[in-house]
Structures are given as structure tokens and as C-alpha cells.
């Protein structure tokens, strides 16, 4: 998604939940539909835009993603794909959840897609005890209830621990 920008030097300031300010080029910020809509309406780019739900560490990651995608031309899809998989490669789960929430809030579809895919791939094929641990889900079933749910969807658990 290449956006045509008349004035490439225009910048705006984003402020994270923990008070850190980020100076961002406008064409990079436009990767976010939320920011795009704000700029399209009345928000002047001189204002500081607060992002109260996103911490500095996550925002830095998000902006890194946006910059790469804003600067790459559409013909370099292969390069972007390898950037995307590299980008999430060694990320811990906490960071990944923060990222997916930030992408959802800022409406950055591409980032939301790859982060959600990464989470889905992590859950896939794992025994549910392990999934519960990764995601801190508390098991509130009694053993009988759990067995009943398992039995109800028996086909999905065949050959599965």
C-alpha cells in the first residue's frame, strides 16, 4: 500500500501511555487507519497525539513496522514478507499480545494480520495444558466437565494428547 505524499517532510508527534514522545513522518503514520482518519479530519499535525493504551516499547515496534511498509515500494512484496516473519520471530508472548492490541487500536491491518497469525500458529497443535500456561488461562472446569466437552467434540481430539 503505497501512499502518495506531496510533502514528505511533514512530521507528527505520538505520545505513548508511559509518556514517551515519538516524532513520526506523516507517510509512515498513514499506515494506521486511525491516524489517517484523525489527520483527514481536523487534527493538525502540530498537535501531540496521545495513544493512552500503547506503551513505548510496543509503539517503537509498531512504528518500525510502519516505516518499513511505508518506505518499501509495492513491487518489493517478497522483501516485505521476509521482513514480516523476521519481525515477529523471537518476540515473547507478552510483547506479541501488546502488539496485536496496538495494531487493533491503531487499525493497522497488515500488522494485525501477521501478529494474530503468529498467535494462532502458537496455539495450533499444542496440548491444551501448554496453551493454558502460555496464555495464563485458568482452567475452571472440573475433570468431569472437561471430559464432557472433549467428548462433545470428539472428532477434533482424535489422536491428540
Amino acid at each position: 500500500m503505497a501512499s502518495s505524499i506531496e510533502n514528505n517532510n511533514e512530521k507528527l508527534t505520538l505520545k505513548s501511555s508511559d509518556g514517551e514522545e515519538f516524532l513520526v513522518e506523516k507517510h509512515v503514520a498513514l499506515q494506521s487507519t486511525l491516524l489517517q482518519n484523525m489527520l483527514d479530519s481536523d487534527c493538525s499535525s502540530a498537535d501531540v497525539i496521545p495513544l493512552p493504551k500503547i506503551d513505548a516499547r510496543t509503539l517503537a515496534l509498531v512504528l518500525g513496522y510502519c516505516k518499513k511498509h511505508a518506505d518499501a515500494s509495492s513491487s518489493k512484496q517478497g522483501e516485505l514478507n521476509s521482513f514480516d516473519s523476521e519481525f515477529l520471530k523471537d518476540m515473547d508472548m507478552g510483547a506479541l499480545f501488546n502488539l496485536v492490541l496496538a495494531a487493533n487500536f491503531m487499525e493497522i491491518k497488515g500488522l494485525l494480520d501477521i501478529a494474530a497469525q503468529k498467535i494462532a500458529d502458537t496455539i495450533k497443535d499444542k496440548p491444551h495444558q501448554e496453551v493454558r500456561e502460555i496464555f495464563h488461562v485458568e482452567n475452571d472446569y472440573t475433570p468431569e466437565e472437561e471430559a464432557a466437552v472433549r467428548e462433545e467434540n470428539r472428532w477434533a481430539f482424535e489422536g491428540f494428547p
Binding site: S17, D18, E20, D55, A56, R57, A60, D92, M93, G94, A95, F97, N98, V100, L101, N104, L112, A116, Q117, I119, A120, D121, I123, K124, D125, H128, V131, R132, F135, H136, V137, E138, N139, D140, Y141, E146, V149, R150, E152, N153, W155, A156, F157, E158, G159, F160
Partner: protein, 437 residues
């Protein structure tokens, strides 16, 4: 670095429902169903997902290998087990099913598929994929034509019968039909009853008469296979056109068939990207250069990108490529993937390239970018590139990507030869890409 939100806060159950739904959609259906045992909160998360895909990777193998060795399954029990799973999911599922895909290699055509389509037609289905990958093609039920919300339809190995009542698919934007059995007339009616259609993919292994396409909003047209004729009636917005023969069917008889190429290209007035393979390029040569008087190559006023795959760089093909380039004033980029030619015509091709090279009568005035993929370093390839470098006035870049199976030195000798060739354009740059990249 500060991190105010501790990771314990961000457990997956705290994610908004829309994100949880998105994550569940992105995993195979069997894994989505398995999340029901995580906790009470999770029990019913999967039953609302609006996307259901049944394929070989999303189900549990109905007959694991050890079982197969014990007792080879019969077709009926495989079918029953697969269908029981699909029905189970559909029975528990709540809410709209916007996207549904059925593509299981072991599932043959059967009447139960019609029942599924009937269920989907009542659940607001928007995107439907139905691929029969074994046995006879499946005759499509009438209920398909009542799925009025469809925006995307992907069919493989299905039979179209003229529907008794069909009001068209008012919202279909993308249509992919592979190995479907449909008469040319019915196809024409069908396409014209999708007024918003933007993308059409059609693949056929039997000679299909592709004619009279009336699709005022069509932007992307991809054809693959053998065609008796190809023509368009009304497709004023097509920007991408690709046409390929089918490798599995073998070489298309007599090149790509006899087409009115001039008429076809005239019918695509805003074409920006053209992608074709060797056999169809030969067919174009036969019609445009050898055909009856009156056949000509129209000027492709808007063509930006020309991509040619599996081309044998013979004398005729080289001539045709040069002609196409010269007829495309806005051409920016040419991508060529050659395949190795037998040596028998080498001398004549080289002679042709040399003769063209020394002829001062003409130049390539528009070409800016050339990309040669899978280059083996044959004499013909080198002479062809030499010709392009010597004749292109405004060439900016020539990218060469050697064929890793054919070059032993990583393509260095190709590069060495290329760098000695004269370049007409002062800006022309030769870039080498690692063959193993």
C-alpha cells in the same frame, strides 16, 4: 525501556472478542474446536466464527497411517467420517457463515454437498470455495444460485447446468473457475449477470470457446489452458491480462490456437500488465506476423509491465518480443523467464540478433527496466541481452538472475560477458541477483 503493562495483564482471555475471533479463524478448524477445553470462557468462543474451512490441513486425518495399514478404509467410510465432522461443526455453529471452503482430496462428489450449499445459502454466505479433487465433477445444485450475497466464488471440477431461476450474483467481485463444465453460451450469460465482477480466473484443459465476455468492471483476467477462441465483447477496464497454456496438458497444438490477437488487444484498451507464456507468444507471432493481411499488432498505449514466462528464445519469439516492446510506448518493465532452446536453431537466432543489432533503422525508445530470470548463460540469451542493451535509448536497469541449476559459478561468467556489451543508454545499470536468493 519502560513497560507499564506487565505481560500477566495481557493474557489471551483479555483480548477483545474481535481479536480472539480473528485468531480462531486463522487456525485450522480442528484447533479452533480444541480451544473449547481451555476454560468455561473459551468453551463457546469458536462456535461464532464466521469462517469455516474444511481441507486436508484443517481436519483430523480421518484414517491415520497405522489404521490404514491395519484395515484399508473403503471410500464410503472415509466419506461418512468426513461428512460427520462437517455436520457436527455446522450443528454446533451459531450465527452467520460468511466464508466457507470445502476442498478435501478424499471427498468425491456426493449429494450431501448439495445439502451443505443449501445450509450456506441460508447463512448469508459471501465467499464460497468448492473444490472437487477426486472422481467425477460435481453437478452444482440450484441452491447455489440463491446465494445472493456472494462476493467471491471459487469452483473446481463442477458442472454448471442452466439454472431455472437465476437473478444473477449482484455482488460477486471475484470468480475463479477451474475445470468447470459449462457451455460457452451459459458462461457468457453467467459472467454478464455478475455486474460488479472485477477478477476472473478461468482454467480449462478442454478446448473452451472463451468469447463474448461482457464485464464492464473487470480489471483482472487470468486464463489458463486450451482455448478455441478468445474474445471480449465489453471489458473496457481490464488492466491485468494473463494467459498461459497448461503444463499438465502438454504443448498446446499449433502454438496457442488461432486467435484474433489484434481484436482481443483492441478490446482491452487500458491494459497495463500483460503476462503470457511461450506457446501463446508463438500464437501471437503466427497471427500478427504471418497471418492474413490486415492482422496487425495494435499499439498498447497503457502497457507498463510485460512478463513472458517459459519462452524459447527462437528467432520468431525474439522478433515478437521486440515488436511488443516497440508497440508499447509506456512500457516500463519487461520480465523474461527463458527456457533453454535446443541448439538446432542457434545459428539462425544469433544471425537474426546480429542483423538487428547492426541495423540502424530502429531503436527501443521506451523500455526502462529489463529483468531476466532463470538465465542459463546460453549464447542466445547473451545475444538477446546484448541486443536490448545496444538498442534501448532510455534503459535504466537490467537485472539478471541466473538459473541455479544451470550455472556452476553462480553466474559470474554471464555477468562478465554482459558487462562488456555496449549500452546505448548512459543510465543503464546491470544488476546481478544471487541465483539462490
Amino acid at each position: 525501556m519502560k513497560n507499564m503493562c506487565g505481560s500477566t495483564l495481557n493474557i489471551i482471555s483479555d483480548l477483545p472478542d474481535t481479536i480472539i475471533e480473528k485468531i480462531l479463524v486463522l487456525m485450522p478448524i480442528r484447533d479452533a474446536v480444541r480451544t473449547s477445553v481451555l476454560s468455561k470462557n473459551w468453551r463457546f468462543n469458536w462456535i461464532n466464527i464466521p469462517v469455516l474451512a474444511f481441507d486436508d490441513t484443517s481436519l483430523v486425518d480421518p484414517y491415520p497411517t497405522f489404521f490404514r495399514q491395519l484395515l484399508p478404509p473403503d471410500q464410503l467410510s472415509i466419506k461418512n467420517r468426513l461428512l460427520a465432522t462437517i455436520y457436527h461443526v455446522l450443528l454446533l455453529h451459531r450465527g452467520p457463515i460468511l466464508k466457507f471452503s470445502l476442498s478435501i482430496s478424499e471427498l468425491k462428489s456426493c449429494s450431501e454437498i448439495d445439502a451443505l450449499i443449501s445450509i450456506l445459502s441460508n447463512h448469508g454466505i459471501q465467499e464460497l470455495t468448492l473444490q472437487i479433487r477426486k472422481g467425477d465433477p460435481h453437478e452444482l445444485p440450484q441452491s447455489l444460485f440463491s446465494c445472493q450475497q456472494l462476493t467471491y466464488l471459487n469452483l473446481h471440477s463442477c458442472v454448471f447446468k442452466r439454472p431455472t431461476t437465476f437473478k444473477g450474483f449482484p455482488w460477486v467481485v471475484c470468480l475463479e473457475l477451474r475445470e468447470v463444465i459449462i457451455t460457452a453460451d451459459l458462461f457468457e450469460t453467467f459472467v454478464s449477470s455478475c455486474p460488479l465482477l472485477e477478477q476472473l480466473t478461468f482454467e480449462s484443459s478442454s478446448r473452451f470457446d472463451f468469447k463474448g465476455i461482457d464485464a464492464p468492471n473487470l480489471k483482472v483476467l487470468s486464463l489458463m489452458g486450451i482455448f478455441k477462441s478468445i474474445s471480449v465483447k465489453n471489458a473496457p477496464k481490464v488492466a491485468n491480462f494473463s494467459i498461459h497454456s497448461k503444463a499438465s496438458v502438454g504443448v498446446v497444438e499449433g502454438g496457442g490456437g488461432k486467435f484474433d490477437w489484434a481484436g482481443l488487444l483492441d478490446g482491452l484498451p487500458v491494459l497495463r500488465s500483460l503476462h503470457m507464456d511461450g506457446p501463446y507468444l508463438m500464437s501471437m507471432f503466427e497471427e500478427v506476423c504471418l497471418g492474413q493481411v490486415g492482422q496487425r499488432l495494435p499499439t498498447l498505449w497503457h502497457l507498463n509491465i510485460l512478463e513472458l514466462s517459459d519462452v524459447r528464445l527462437g528467432k520468431r519469439v525474439v522478433g515478437m518480443i521486440l515488436k511488443l516492446i516497440r508497440h508499447s510506448p509506456k512500457l516500463h518493465k519487461v520480465i523474461i523467464k527463458p527456457i533453454i532452446t535446443g541448439d538446432k536453431n542457434e545459428a539462425s537466432v544469433l544471425k537474426f540478433c546480429e542483423a538487428t543489432l547492426v541495423s540502424s533503422k530502429w531503436h527501443l525508445n521506451y523500455l526502462r527496466e529489463v529483468e531476466m530470470r532463470l538465465v542459463s548463460g546460453t549464447k542466445i540469451e547473451l545475444h538477446f541481452m546484448k541486443l536490448l542493451l545496444a538498442k534501448s535509448r532510455v534503459l535504466e536497469s537490467m537485472v539478471v538472475k541466473p538459473n541455479p541449476a544451470k550455472v556452476s559459478d553462480g553466474g559470474l561468467s554471464i555477468l562478465k560477458e554482459l558487462s562488456q556489451f555496449q549500452r546505448l543508454s548512459p543510465k543503464a545499470k546491470i544488476t546481478y541477483r544471487d541465483p539462490n536468493e
